[in-house]
């Protein structure tokens, strides 16, 4: 437990000390919120779907959680580059412990980042239907963060060089985001697209946030909870396996 705690704390300290990184990572969600929120707002409203800011805010929060958690896991690449990975791999603790510490650290940082974006959304005019649902929404943020931090560690354990990051961004992270219904409603989609959105775990994270924050959803809360818990187990398991196989 001590090893998990110290590695979790390390992730948190690194995040808190990197103010430039915090500001930089808020740039993209802000851009989506302001440009899409205000730009597409009138069109969305004319189509009879209400306020686009209300609709897109949970998606932007989900985006922030997704990007931060995946890249926190992929941060293993930097640990590999700067040598710190060796220090953890030769330590007399099971590698699964190291992986869990890293995943929980990444998930915590991603949840904090999601909360910061939620505050920004509130400043931009977003209003949740009920403040009481906020703690439950945070729980879903944590679950989503664990899912993607696990995926990030699984990917980061296999990446050998920095060029691979662009590949992951373009062929894994962005498709997960754009196919999650973060920017558009999930109902009424062509059947192929509808199928893809249903196998994307982020769809369930964002849908749950949308249900809790604005009261509309495609899935029930229980379905989202079960899918996210199952995917979290799968990705954390996959991450643990990949991490245990690292050779330097």
């Amino acid at each position: 437990m001590n090893a998990i705690y110290i590695l979790w704390l390390r992730e948190l300290k690194r995040y808190m000390r990197s103010r430039a990184m915090i500001v930089a990572s808020l740039g993209q969600p802000l851009l989506y919120l302001l440009v899409l929120g205000f730009g597409l707002g009138p069109v969305f409203q004319r189509a009879g779907n209400g306020s686009y800011i209300q609709f897109v805010a949970p998606g932007v929060i989900g985006m922030s959680v997704l990007f931060t958690s995946v890249f926190s896991g992929i941060g293993l690449l930097w640990d590999r580059q700067f040598g710190f990975l060796k220090e953890t791999l030769v330590a007399p603790v099971p590698r699964v412990t190291v992986m869990i510490g890293k995943t929980l650290g990444g998930a915590t940082v991603a949840t904090i980042q999601g909360l910061i974006v939620l505050i920004i959304c509130l400043i931009a005019g977003f209003r949740p239907i009920s403040w009481v649902a906020i703690p439950l929404a945070i729980l879903f943020m944590i679950l989503t963060a664990v899912v993607f931090a696990g995926l990030g560690v699984a990917i980061g354990s296999r990446l050998q060089d920095i060029q691979g990051m662009q590949l992951i961004m373009n062929f894994v992270v962005l498709p997960i985001y754009f196919l999650s219904g973060a920017l558009f409603p999930l109902h009424g989609l062509p059947s192929v697209l509808s199928f893809i959105t249903r196998i994307d775990p982020l769809s369930y994270g964002i849908d749950a946030l949308r249900l809790l924050l604005i009261g509309t959803s495609e899935f029930t809360l229980v379905v989202s909870l079960v899918v996210l818990c199952g995917t979290a187990l799968l990705f954390v398991g996959l991450g643990s396996y990949s991490f245990s196989k690292i050779q330097l």
Partner: protein, 261 residues
């Protein structure tokens, strides 16, 4: 304490370690010498469970390093050739993290951290971020961290690289002291022949992945009919300058340096 039999490591077509066998007795200081790319670091990586051997057997304190890697890791400590500190943490935080990972009790952790940081003259800078340290200071911190827990076996992979003579002297005095008082077995690699001669009980010279000779410094000189360890080393390994293959981490470090420029 360390038994290696017919150890082989290949990377594709390239054989980095080729049928290497040796034994290191408990309480012995054993030096592994070789030119660049001879297979020293690859051997240490296999001994410390970072790399799986292609074939052969490694026994550390009676444990099979490949099958009982977790238990094996409890037996040793290591100072790496390359940096392995977290630059975004302070010196004290790096020591603390290491101490927790190696199950050093809190009180002992703090006492030993102070003793070691004072020994390597870093105590005054304990709360500074490692990224603000000079190369020599980072190296001293790596070494101090490696000594935080008292393992049965200590692997030192070119520990004095980038250290000034004073720090080198401090390091070897401490290593000798640990060996004498705690009976710690030491396995080291170095490029400095004078250091190997000064501290090692026994030396193995490795070249092209194979052990070329093994014995005490005097035995090696006698075997090669030379009057210094350096002359013996050159006679066994030749005088051609070797190139090392850059691995993925080396390439990434080079790229990061380019970006910083």
């Amino acid at each position: 304490m360390i038994q290696v039999e017919h150890l082989v490591k290949t990377f594709g077509e390239f054989t980095a370690v080729d049928d290497v066998s040796f034994n290191v007795a408990a309480g012995e200081i054993f030096a592994f010498l070789g030119p660049n790319g001879a297979g020293k670091t690859t051997t240490i990586k296999m001994l410390t469970t970072l790399l799986k051997p292609t074939s052969g057997a490694i026994e550390i304190d009676g444990l099979d390093a490949a099958k009982q890697s977790n238990e094996t890791r409890k037996r040793f400590g290591i100072v790496f050739q390359d940096p392995s500190l977290d630059q975004e943490l302070t010196a004290a935080e790096n020591m603390d993290l290491h101490g927790v990972l190696y199950h050093v009790p809190r009180k002992l952790r703090h006492e030993r951290t102070q003793m070691l940081l004072e020994l390597f003259e870093l105590w005054e800078r304990r709360n500074d971020y490692v990224k603000t340290f000079s190369g020599g200071m980072k190296r001293r911190l790596e070494i101090a961290r490696g000594f935080l827990h008292t393992p049965k076996i200590l692997f030192l992979d070119e520990p004095t690289l980038g250290l000034d003579p004073q720090s080198r002297n401090q390091l070897w005095t401490h290593v000798k002291n640990l060996n004498k008082t705690e009976g710690v077995t030491v396995f080291l690699t170095t490029h400095y022949m004078d250091e190997a001669e000064r501290v090692a009980d026994r030396i193995a010279i490795i070249d092209h992945g194979k052990i070329a000779a093994e014995g005490s410094p005097d035995e090696l000189k006698a075997q090669t009919e030379t009057d210094s360890l350096e002359a013996a080393f050159l006679k066994l390994t030749g005088s051609t300058i070797r190139d090392e293959r850059a691995d993925a981490s080396d390439q990434m470090r080079q790229m990061a340096r380019m970006w910083r420029k």
